[in-house]
Symmetry: C2
Subunit: 410 residues, 2 copies
Amino acid sequence: MTAPPHGARTPGAPEELPNTQQGMRRRNLSRVLRTVATDGPLSRASVASRIGLTRAAVSTLVDELIRSGLLEELGPERPGRVGRPCSALAVSSRGPAGIGAEVGVDHLAVCAMDLRGEVRARVRRQAANRGRPPEAVLKELASLVRQVGRDAERDGLRPAGLSVAVPGLVARGTHTVVSAPNLDWHGVDVDAHLPTGLSLTVDNEANFGALAELWLGDVPEDFLHVSAEIGIGAAVVVDGRLLHGSRGFAGELGHVPVHPEGPACACGGRGCLEQYAGEEAVLRKAGLAAGPRRVALLAERAAEGDEAVRRALYGAGAALGIALTGAVNLLDPQAVVLGGALSRLAPWLLPSLARELGDRTTGPGCDVTVSTVGSDGPLLGAAQSVVRAVLDDPAGVTGPDRGGLAALDR
Amino acid sequence: MTAPPHGARTPGAPEELPNTQQGMRRRNLSRVLRTVATDGPLSRASVASRIGLTRAAVSTLVDELIRSGLLEELGPERPGRVGRPCSALAVSSRGPAGIGAEVGVDHLAVCAMDLRGEVRARVRRQAANRGRPPEAVLKELASLVRQVGRDAERDGLRPAGLSVAVPGLVARGTHTVVSAPNLDWHGVDVDAHLPTGLSLTVDNEANFGALAELWLGDVPEDFLHVSAEIGIGAAVVVDGRLLHGSRGFAGELGHVPVHPEGPACACGGRGCLEQYAGEEAVLRKAGLAAGPRRVALLAERAAEGDEAVRRALYGAGAALGIALTGAVNLLDPQAVVLGGALSRLAPWLLPSLARELGDRTTGPGCDVTVSTVGSDGPLLGAAQSVVRAVLDDPAGVTGPDRGGLAALDR
């Protein structure tokens, strides 16, 4: 694997720290911080017993995390048994914040999330981005990032990095959108047009959506996340880690051949899943014109009992089931999670989808569930990926060049 | 992910060592040993500069590895420049050995591999294993394991573990073959019938075959390994690690739907890849009866220009291309590697396979190459997986309970 260029991070993949005393200290700082983030508030003694280090070693690490503003003490309390009073530790509500941003076909959104996972500032603006020059889109996004960053700082937070979700393919370990057909972007370097001064990560919206399911939703460690807006996107999570693929293009479920002799697809193939379950195909089969609020319209009509719409969704579900059979056979995930527009349409997609998958796979098969995170997944996953990077290497944010007001005002 | 039960290891996945001084020492022992194994012979100073530790720290680690019989000194030599004479280090030819074993439909094989990756003892025996009681098959295998173990010990080696490749699905982290249809095995606990006293790992032959490609062949870190004997097997390697799937069943390419309305398959699906590219299907289309040396026969006839055989292989290649399009779209590997019987038939499969894959995938696509390891892949991969486990945690083999003569003679 080629190493990513300096400054480009792969979301969901903790950096490997060197195997030295210094590296061990950094790893142990992370273990303490993650333990408190996951299970806190906790006493020093509880942290020590959970991670198998001595109480003295944990106290030294905790003191460093408090000095860096990543942990805070909730004040002394006397437990219901004998012994010294102890102070419970919690992750700071005034420490570093992750800034997440989303470029949609018809909107822009930015939020700031604290180390506890709470969204502390957010903004969303309608914008007709399809065909608009990328420079203009990203200039507007940069101003929203600055606005949210200032709101977060007024609230005592310190922006620690920016992750941007885009509806397209991003070359692994770069800031370059190779192709985002629904925006008409090709080879757009996001870094060049988004000068916020924050450490930047760019990735596909389906990937950030899957990370949001993993971190904020109710999913197992191995799952396939399938979502749809205009195209069909998917992301593969294995052992709690996102699978990016060698070029960063993994998860292209929309162009899996479903009926190999089927209609030609813009990708060059024939009978791809998008020809049966993509938004345009479903609208056409349902006898509806393309237009705004398309998914809402499909859901309303299906709920009202419109037979043509129900038939179109039934066919889309069957095509999804065939494509997912191949994916489940190859990857053996614990679950398939339907997100994005698919979660709204799930009642009418699921019967045929589950039937195909059940008939075509052996053994106990694979659960099919509907996202609990909702349509904010990509935005929240982007912000959370910055938070995770801090939790994975807290020493990395305490250096001189890591975000903060000065960076934002550059 | 559920932790594997005690004693069952997942091949190709280094165990995570605890993050303590002791864990750091063990990791650094491994780094020294792996550096010499990969790049040796090397001086202590060269090892130190490669792994970024001080020369003094490396010397302490090297001394421990020499005492444990894992490294050896090749004797003093004076380099062509000023300075003290130094002694080059090499991985020991008399240290621990990995024992690999393979249960085939018509053969059994066992080999012993030293830490340098050299096969030092091996045995192969024809055996009609299809339908034979698993106890009898494994009893015969155990006697071959003891024979190879004794040969290795006479040669100064110390068996450090046993890995067994089987043509079936193995439940992740267990020794249980859930299903091996071509052996007629269902729910066979290999451990219960293979009492060699050695630490045991059991996995699918395609998985060990893929590890052999990774470790001994000429493949990138991200690839899809496709092989065939009677069924079609595949294995997915991502960032140099085998993807097992949640239950251990990943890589079931043979049951990816190629023509969803096609012929019924024993798996319960319709139009699976095996219905077009499995051995039986190809023989039937070629007008040949099933029987021994079937693949050799196909290759001979195709080479002689037999039109029916060539047409059958062309069709099989096209079906492989359609199934691989879905796999490449989902996983974005750097390469697809054809192994097992497919490597012998590659000249007649590749044209249609590459055409389908090329027409149906966008961008630079994905290289399709033929295995350089050959049909011994699963056996060599099994033995090498034990060797890798020693290289990944050399401290683990120096304890009292780790293999050796006493274990073999139990």
